[in-house]
Symmetry: C2
Subunit: 337 residues, 2 copies
DNA sequence: GCAGTTCGTGACAGCGTTTTCATGCACCGT
DNA sequence: ACGGTGCATGAAAACGCTGTCACGAACTGC
């Protein structure tokens, strides 16, 4: 910066003012400085600047994985937003318990970011508390944390509406396939189950535990087993509501392999509206991770500028039922029976 | 840090030495300092440290998108590696041309990272040159840049082996489905085509332009059109080699919808070995983005520690043909004809 | 016992910015 | 013409750390 100052024949103060766009610089000096900076290929050091301003210009993001549609999409909408605000995006990937404890022990984001976005974690109270002491605004994304700014979709309502869609088609035996993931990472599992149960109750149907099965995402074998359990019930379901599209697709795969036509014999409904849902013409309950990412980014930027702002509210985003080709009325005999 | 020094009854120099693990600190003093640091919940400011050391502790990563299996997997293996080395991961997402020009104009990573990993970009000479002047080691990942450290899989060999697999099964009419993506982002498209052509030539077969079609990934309609073009040829192919698993799956989908059994009537071979390939029992040519990410991270760390090291070499990773259930010998009449 | 070494420690000068404060200058109204 | 205002600029003090250098103490070998 001293070089730029010398070349432009001004002091470093003026260079600093110019480069930050402060208005108290005369036009001709500004031009000279900008020219000099360009010629010298100069860029201010964020480190040095942050040392005195106390702001790092970084936004930290804590994610359980990057290998998922949700994270990819959310971050892809978050990143340009931060970039436009002149912020850097710092990613912490915490795939397993070891990394997790190490993260919360060392808290590498401390003093190294102006805000932290925590994606999809089921945090313990202790962990939440340690983040409270981080000295920066923390936004909880895709999860519900009492008393802290949180952003999430209304999973209960989504599952409620999805189940109603199946009920309205005439289904009475509706199964729910839960997704059990790596422990400690919340994928809104319970809320979706609750929505499903609410819909059934609302329709005056009993809750049958046999109709709720679980599997892991990406586990073909597990999905087959779960479907197998449903197919071997005394009174098998005519519709399957899977908590995640991937599992729904696996279910369709299994069913069709066994010559059970979807949706003629069994309807399948997913949740998420991943691209894969479109490929398979899968009826699903859509959520928008892009919206989540954007909202989270905007909230974070707000909180950085005004940490005491009244943003401790929860932002709840909507879901939408998207009927495609895998949901249909149940087969005749079932409807009449 | 002054607080810690005071509490431990030592100077800041000693605190700094202790916290950096230098050996010239007596055990009892070390214990006192560590205790004090813990009690005060102290963490050194990377910004301040980097100001004097000249190292930022950041590794910047330039990616075209995060919404892809490849990026997600590569970064997921890269991240823990950097974390273990005490480095932060800084992500720049450049989804479109506007962001791209803005990135290369402002080069936000300048002075803000110790190394840059550029993923999957087809850079212009001008862009490469501007990265050369960045003052930090730049590693090109999943692309081939002359004279700079690059890491990529041997796409030519992969496609060659994949095509040979089809040839060995008895296929003689083998189509290739190219993927045309967002312009300027290299997905090794050409190299895979070259490998395919090499295999045909090697087998003494002519190159038929009609057998090479193109589509966009994720575009069901486009995939259908591409397959349609192949099916309406005078002599349609008995095997389809798609440059990406997603497209291969779309092809299978289209074929089966038209009652053309895969692999009985038409074999389909993919490339990448994404999780989706496993679900669909898709035969494919596997590459390992996890390995790529790891190699890239290790190389970057090497170059950071010793920028002049002899690492200007290219690291070429292997591919593996994984036969699953979508490749089989061509139907009888074809083989005998 | 004395010079020479080694070892642990502290004082202090930077690192490259921002920011405060002071300064000089032009401009205003009277 | 003169003091007051406002504006563009510069000098210099932080910011929080690291690294160099110097210093004293505790050793070593003769």
């Amino acid at each position: 910066m001293a070089d730029v100052a010398e070349r432009a024949g001004v002091s470093t103060s003026t260079v600093s003012r110019t480069l930050r766009g402060l208005s108290t610089v005369s036009p001709e000096v500004r031009a000279r400085v900008e020219q000099a900076a360009r010629e010298l290929n100069f860029a201010v050091s964020r480190q040095a600047a942050s040392l005195v301003t106390g702001r790092t210009g970084n936004v930290a993001v804590l994610v359980p994985t990057l290998q998922s549609w949700f994270m990819g999409t959310a971050l892809s909408s978050l990143a340009p937003l931060l970039r436009a605000a002149g912020m850097e995006l710092n990613v912490y990937v915490i795939p397993d318990l070891a990394e997790r404890t190490s993260f919360f022990e060392r808290l590498p984001a401390r003093r190294n970011a102006d805000a932290l976005l925590v994606f999809c974690f089921d945090l313990t109270d202790e962990e939440t508390a340690s983040l409270d002491n981080l000295g920066m605004p923390v936004v909880y994304v895709s999860q519900h944390v009492e008393g802290r700014p949180s952003i999430y979709v209304d999973d209960v309502a989504g599952a409620l509406h999805g189940t109603r869609h199946l009920l309205n088609l005439g289904h009475r035996r509706i199964a729910f396939v839960q997704t059990i993931g790596a422990s400690g990472f919340s994928f809104s599992s319970n809320e979706r189950l609750i929505g499903y149960q609410q819909a059934l109750t609302e329709a005056g149907l009993p809750l049958d535990d046999d109709l709720v099965v679980a599997t892991e995402p990406g586990d073909k074998r597990g999905a087959a087993e779960a479907i197998g359990r449903l197919l071997s019930l005394r009174e098998p379901p005519t519709a399957v509501f899977a908590e995640q599209d991937e599992v729904a697709v696996a279910a369709i795969w299994t069913l069709r392999k066994t010559q059970i036509p979807v949706p003629e014999r069994v309807s399948v409904l997913g949740f998420d509206d991943q691209p894969i849902a479109d490929w398979f013409d899968l009826s699903t309950v859509a959520q928008s991770p892009a919206d989540i990412g954007r909202e989270a980014g905007e909230l974070a930027l707000c909180l950085i500028n005004d940490p005491d702002a009244d943003h401790k509210r929860h932002i709840v985003l909507p879901t939408h039922v998207i009927p495609r080709a895998t949901t249909a009325p149940p087969p005749q005999e079932e409807r009449e029976g």
